[in-house]
């Protein structure tokens, strides 16, 4: 007769449509930051450490509103909303997921660029095979070098070609 359950000993699974806590798949994430830009409550941040050469994608599930906009914009499907909803914890750190990615080095000056190695790989995956090798040389340039060495038009070309993937901002 009773409609309640002896929770937590018995539990009811959430349906497949359910939008639960988001999870970042560290293997798939390329650190492009599209999710961060789409996220309404700023639950995802992208932080670059230019000295050590790391990019951290930080997801704070306690800020998340489960809108799944990140899932929609993620180019690699690294970010998915799970069916998990039992998130109570005494430590807020438990709700933070961090993906640490190595930044690409500028082939010219050797400084770190504002994009990750995986972003570069992803970009190369996308471009047609015939230009891949050519692109590899030009893609890993930091902003300053690109502007200085390749000149205005080349920089424009680069932005036009890769801007969407590299996620550079003004």
């Amino acid at each position: 007769m009773s409609v309640t359950l002896k929770y937590p000993f018995e539990r009811r699974e959430a349906p497949e449509e359910y939008r639960g806590a988001p999870v970042i798949d560290g293997d798939r994430c390329i650190g492009c930051g599209a999710c961060s830009r789409a996220c309404p409550p700023d639950a995802i941040l992208v932080l670059d450490d230019m000295r050590e050469g790391f990019r951290r994608v930080v997801l704070d599930v306690s800020r998340c509103i489960r809108c799944a906009r990140c899932e929609e914009v993620c180019p690699t499907g690294a970010l998915r909303l799970s069916r998990e909803f039992e998130l109570a914890t005494p430590r807020k750190e438990d709700l933070v997921q961090v993906v640490k990615l190595r930044l690409a080095r500028c082939v010219v000056c050797g400084n770190y660029c504002d994009f990750t190695v995986r972003q570069v790989e992803k970009a190369l995956e996308i471009v047609p095979e015939d230009v891949r090798e050519a692109a590899r040389e030009r893609i890993s340039l930091c902003r300053a070098c690109r502007r200085r060495l390749l000149g205005e038009d080349l920089a424009n070309l680069s932005t036009g070609l890769w801007g969407g993937i590299l996620g550079q901002e003004g």
């Binding site: 409609v3 959430a14 349906p15 449509e17 359910y18 939008r19 789409a38 309404p40 409550p41 700023d42 941040l45 932080l47 930080v58 704070d60 306690s62 800020r63 509103i65 489960r66 809108c67 799944a68 906009r69 929609e72 909303l81 807020k92 933070v96």
Partner: protein, 571 residues
């Protein structure tokens, strides 16, 4: 459909003509079928508003919203505008929403108040005073309304020169009413019968309430300011739906409709039907929730638990349709994000059938529980005259004999293509409000069935590009608690320049005083609950903690600082 629209246009023309008789009109800005803004001189603002109410007394004139805007971005200089949004509500034949606007300069920021005649404008005018520093002259109760007690005088947060992350504070101060020979019973901010913070100050003799004072807006966090400063237009729906934990979808719909109206976006029909279905699901769950709460307040937990048991099916349905127990995350500008798949349609029909059957049994049980009915009957009466003066909306208005319902009067989404009944009662007491809601549940179940039968195929999302700058739009929806009005003025950079979300409770809550006086402390929780108040709706909540010293929902760790810095960088 077309015929209706042209009818609305005719009525609008008539309205403007009648206004011209009474006051000099400086200009008219058409916003679409049945929508326009009339600009008058500040001196004639009051006369124009009163003329509207007087001329159309028989067509349920309504103060739907009032928006104050810092126009410095659009017009340059220290200029503000005040727009009273007035509507006629007579069952769809005059689908008119008219803005009466006056411009006010910063060196003399005053305008004539209408609150002594149209009680409903009481809060609107105080809000404009608080947030923009425009002073209503002749206001009967010019105390602070929205800003916290410790906010300094002369700082107006909604002016464009005020940064959204500032939170100045000073010594707290507030003047409450003083009533002789009466004891004070503080009802709230934290009271089991209030789901959210609000402070009613009941002045009682014995248990009889002789006077009531209200201090609210504890959950006002400047959501509009944040939307204007930090968010892009497609992020706003997610905040708009979090205005309310119960009727969120109706807020995001109203916001989207406002933007769609401003940008002239045609929403696919299928998306409109989906919105309609979800709105009705939301209404059912909200009304069931309310009936349960009313039972609980009267100590009748049997009714409470059973009603909520039925409500649970609705929640599960919402979970399958939207991915969330609440109908969250479905709306974007231009349409909806998830389609109604075949199996979902079956789930809906099954749930509708079940809810109809089980709720009917429960209603029989409730209306046969004498102790329950007796507590509701003749309590918290709001007369029709007062209901009209306070411009109350939704079931509160319909229980006091006002036949107003946005779905019928200003058809939106797919409502114009569906048939339904608007239940009205004339008693004006808590029982009438309960019965109106109960009837509406059954009506909503019918609407869902009809919508599923007639839903067309096709796309669910329109192609949306950049928004035009400084274009205005108003979106109205009938939330479970009544008319929601969202006003949007777009700005540069795909942001909103001004967004004014007016929830239904904002119109209903000020009337609580007239419902409470003369009854007893024992009735107070029920009477307040009977308007189904939603304080965060009224006060527009957001996640960022602006007020000094308030409860820290979020810790102020590194993350917050970083995220704020990030947002500023974006801005």
């Amino acid at each position: 459909m077309g015929a209706v629209k042209s009818k609305a246009g005719e009525v609008l023309e008539e309205v403007i003509r009648r206004l011209r008789y009474s006051v000099p009109v400086k200009g008219v800005k058409a916003l679409g079928e049945g929508r326009a803004v009339v600009v008058v001189d500040r001196r004639f603002l009051r006369d124009a508003v009163l003329a509207f109410f007087k001329a159309f007394d028989g067509r349920e004139p309504q103060l739907s919203s009032m928006v104050g805007i810092d126009e410095s971005g659009r017009l340059g200089g220290d200029v503000y505008s005040i727009t009273y949004w007035l509507s006629l509500n007579d069952g769809g034949s005059s689908d008119v929403l008219l803005g009466i606007r006056a411009y006010v300069r910063g060196d003399d920021p005053t305008f004539p108040s209408v609150a002594d005649v149209i009680y409903g404008s009481n809060w609107y005018e105080r809000e404009v005073r608080d947030l923009l520093g425009l002073k209503p002259v002749g206001h009967p109760d010019p105390r602070r309304l929205i800003l916290p007690d410790d906010w300094p005088e002369g700082v107006y947060p909604l002016r464009k020169d005020f940064p959204y992350y500032e939170s100045p504070s000073t010594e707290p101060k507030y003047e409450f009413k003083v009533v002789r020979d009466a004891n004070v019973v503080p009802f709230g901010p934290y009271h089991v019968a209030l789901d959210e913070p609000a402070h009613f100050r009941l002045y009682v003799r014995g248990e009889e309430i002789v006077e009531v004072d209200y201090r609210g807006f504890y959950s006002h966090r400047g959501i509009e300011k944040i939307a204007e400063s930090r968010l892009t237009y497609n992020q706003v729906p997610f905040i708009a739906e979090r205005i309310c934990g119960i009727c969120g979808f109706t807020h995001s719909t109203a916001y989207c409709q406002a933007v769609e109206a401003a940008a002239g976006i045609e929403v696919p029909e299928r998306a409109e039907f989906i919105r309609t279905i979800l709105l009705e699901i939301e209404r059912i769950h909200s009304h069931l929730l309310w009936v349960g709460v009313a039972c609980h307040l009267l100590g009748f937990d049997l009714g409470f638990m059973h009603v909520w048991r039925v409500r649970e099916h609705v929640m599960w349905l919402a979970e399958r349709l939207t991915g969330n127990r609440k109908t969250y995350g479905m709306n974007l500008i231009g349409g909806v994000r998830r389609d109604l798949l075949k199996y979902r349609v079956e789930a809906i029909l099954k749930t509708v059938e079940r809810v109809r059957r089980e709720f009917k049994e429960l209603v029989d049980m409730l209306t046969n529980t004498r102790s329950f009915v007796r507590r509701c009957e003749g309590v918290g009466v709001l007369t029709n005259a007062l209901a009209r003066k306070w411009c109350v909306v939704g079931p509160v208005a319909r229980a006091s004999g006002r036949k107003i319902d946005v779905r019928a009067d200003h058809p939106y989404a797919a409502y114009g293509r569906l048939s339904f009944k608007v239940p009205v009662r004339s008693e004006g007491d808590v029982l009438a409000r309960a019965l109106v809601r109960i009837e509406e549940v059954f009506e909503s179940l019918n609407i869902i069935e009809e919508a599923l039968d007639t839903i067309p195929g096709g796309e669910i999302m329109a192609d949306v590009r950049d928004l035009p700058e400084y274009s205005e739009g108003v979106g109205c929806t009938e939330a479970p608690r009544g008319e929601n009005v969202h006003y949007v003025m777009t700005g540069p950079g795909n942001r909103v320049y001004r967004w004014r979300a007016r929830a239904s409770t904002y119109n209903n809550l000020p009337a609580a005083r007239d419902m409470l006086v003369g009854y007893e402390v024992a009735d107070a929780p029920l009477i307040v609950a009977s308007i189904d108040p939603c304080y965060s709706c009224t006060e527009r909540v957001i996640i960022v903690d602006v007020r000094r010293g308030s409860a820290k929902v979020l810790s102020r760790g590194e993350f917050e600082r970083l995220s704020i810095r990030k947002s500023r960088r974006c801005a």
